[in-house]
Subunit: 452 residues, 2 copies
């Protein structure tokens, strides 16, 4: 794939704020020459080797020093984008960054679109599309396990798995197509039984990958936990206890749409989003209708529901009915609180705890983790599906292959089979970006931050 883009792009690559350092990135053909126009160092940058660093000053048209800087130069194709690139490390003040960017804009450089550096890296063949998508996941991961998942994808483990599936599919489709070319001679280049068993093997590979998605979703998006129960059974105490016993995560993600207050914690690297649903009660109070509606919404999207009760209020049926109407039973954990008060309670529950003494909290944390992961654990070298776009493509590929297997069994003409196999191949190719429409690309890279 050859991609020629004459534009030179620039952006600030570090977060806004006052700090020791900030970095401005520039990428595009001859951008080192442009950098020389605003930089005075020991010698011109164009005369320097790739991967070298140069101390000097950025000066504007009136020879005023804007900052002393370190300029790093990268010659094509050995840069992140695969193009000639420059990085300007300057004092971390947004005013200085803006001044330098403004100066560059006067020299035919334009501000990069979100993700445009990574898009160029992809278009120049430095990384494939699944890897490019992993870049933004690596940056925005909020927990260690989420980071590991994206890291895994950036390292190309998913791409490799998908490529292997795609390649064996291509081998068989090609044989089938040669056969079609010689249709008049009625030759069978590949036995129908072999074809079926090979396709079923590929379907199995896809199915295995698809099955990692629930785990992948857990590690990237976290686990929604609803805490429900009557007033005064200790829901807030439980929330506070969980926050204290785990690593509480300060939520600073802009644009959180859900206006219900929730707390994020991390248990063994997995993000748990705890929602305290005060709304759900056994008595139906008209005024609280809004609260109930919200609580039910939370329960519907919850991966785990902690149904809390104490010894006096033993898991009221009216609440339990509402829960089972809105979520699967296996997602509900009955938590009996206040066991410090009565040790030998006969009330049935999944787990007994005391927020006061801390008894049972560790067990609850393990149980939460177990429920979230459905007992699944993948090693770092396993391909894991975390992206809904990839899930959909694989799902479609699987359907197409199953259809093809059906067609073969019914002795349909080779053309039919071939079309489905090629479509399945395209679905797999879309994941790694061998064939990808501009719409998909724009959609992927618009989610990036500026400067990446």
């Amino acid at each position: 794939m050859n991609f020629i883009n004459e534009d030179i792009i620039t952006a600030i690559a570090t977060p806004p704020g006052n700090s020791a350092l900030a970095i401005i990135r520039i990428s595009g053909k001859n951008c080192i020459e442009i950098a020389d126009k605003i930089f005075i160092g020991k010698k011109p940058l164009v005369e320097s080797d790739s991967h070298t660093i140069h101390y000097g000053k950025v000066i504007d048209e009136s020879q005023t020093v804007l900052d002393d800087v370190l300029v790093s130069i990268f010659k094509a194709p050995n840069s992140y984008t695969g193009e000639e690139s420059v990085e300007i490390s300057h004092h971390g003040n947004p005013i200085i960054s803006q001044q330098i960017i403004a100066l560059l804009l006067k020299h035919n450089v334009r501000v990069a679109e979100p993700g445009e550096f990574t898009k160029r890296a992809f278009l120049n063949g430095r990384i494939d599309l699944a890897q490019a998508e992993a870049v933004i996941d690596v940056i925005s991961s909020r927990t260690i396990s989420s980071l590991k998942g994206s890291r895994n994808q950036l390292d190309g483990i998913l791409s490799e798995y998908v490529t292997t599936l795609r390649d064996s599919l291509v081998d068989f489709s090609s044989l089938l197509e040669v056969e079609l070319d010689f249709a008049e001679e009625d030759l069978e280049f590949v036995s129908r039984n072999d074809l079926i068993s090979k396709l079923e093997e590929i379907v199995e590979g896809i199915t295995n990958l698809l099955s990692t998605y629930s785990f992948g979703k857990v590690i990237t998006e976290g686990v929604n936990v609803a805490i429900v129960g009557e007033p005064n059974v200790g829901k807030s105490s439980l929330l506070n206890k969980l926050l204290k016993e785990s690593r509480a995560i300060v939520s600073e993600i802009p644009g959180t749409t859900r206006d219900i207050i929730h707390e994020d914690i991390e248990i063994d690297g997995i993000l748990f989003k705890l929602f305290d649903t005060a709304g759900l009660r056994s008595t139906s109070d008209k005024i609280e209708k809004e609260g109930v509606t919200r609580a039910i919404e939370i329960i519907k999207t919850a991966d785990v529901v902690l149904f809390v009760s104490d010894l006096e209020n033993s898991f009221p049926d009216s609440i339990y009915t509402q829960l089972t109407e809105n979520c699967e039973i296996e997602r509900i954990i009955k938590v009996l609180n206040k066991i410090d008060l009565v040790r030998n309670s006969t009330i049935f529950s999944d787990i007994k705890i005391s927020c006061k003494t801390g008894e049972g909290i560790d067990t609850l944390l393990s149980l939460l983790k177990k429920k979230a992961l459905h007992g699944e654990i993948y090693t770092e070298k396993t391909a894991i599906l975390t992206n809904v776009r990839h899930f959909n493509a694989l799902y479609k590929a699987k359907e197409l292959l199953e259809k093809a297997v059906g067609s073969i069994k019914q002795n349909y003409s080779g053309e039919f089979i071939s079309v489905d196999l090629r479509s399945a191949e395209n679905q797999l190719n879309e994941i790694i970006g061998v064939v990808t429409s501009d719409d998909i690309l724009n959609n992927i890279f618009s989610k990036f931050c500026i400067g990446k």
Copy 2:
């Protein structure tokens, strides 16, 4: 000055947040060797030249890849600190930064104190103390003129000016001291008249520099503007109008202590902090006492007071008295608003405006700037005093020199004069850091951000 510190220090040098890039700095003897322990690239970093960049992966003890990075290496003394240094450019995710820092800490590296990199640059003689202090000002400047002032100081213009004064002082003190050594022989190495005229020249130089301080303070700290007046005369309209007609600055400085809401604007590169004091009224309402106390506090620290009135309420005496009791008359600007209603008002005011039509607002902006700068303008090559520590040192030096001149005129013994001259010299040396106590150093660098 030789400074030996065996510690290897590290810190994140970019602001917290999710971004394209983040930088970790490492500095100290043999730190490249340490970097090699957590990095896998094409070849060991220790075998590479200074000022080169290396692509590779940071791996932990269990060979897990934490991130792919670009490592820049700097060999002593050609680095910011003057020591062997390393910069690790990685994906901008605070979790990754923390993981890499945690890994470094396992290899006898410690987290840097605030400003420790710059402190080392100073202690290793890379920059003088006034320049080191300018670094933090360059980073935290919020307007272009403030940035220019700090830039000026970082470029060493202040240091040069002070050094010149100090050097001529040293010349004369030395002559005087030689004279003292030969006291028995009653020789006069330097004529008393020459000494007086030379010292007066130095005093003049110091006085000139001291006089730049009010300007320096304006450009670094900005100008406090209080808006006072009766209710409904248009104080809020004026505030909004000023915000619209100038560049409003989003205030994101943490730890703003003053809990009164204020708005920051920039007029021709100068920061104006506008305080709307609703509290000050002609009728004295007991309930509003707290508001009045706050308003007076603002007026006391205001550089400019905009006393707003309209045609109905013509600058009530009761408010004017409160103003003059708490600030100098020349700081007050009487602003007559709503002149769109009555064109030929006979009420006396310094300026007539209409927030509705915008008439007079430009003139008001110029007047604000003129009042703030006291008509003073300095070029970029003039030494400007912006730091209270420098002001105090110069002020003391001036006092000591004036005392010395007095002593000479009264024919006091050479010893007296010499002591004062040496003390004055020390004051000047403290600015550039030739002799500086640990306390002063700690005080200066503790104000820095981590990583600088």
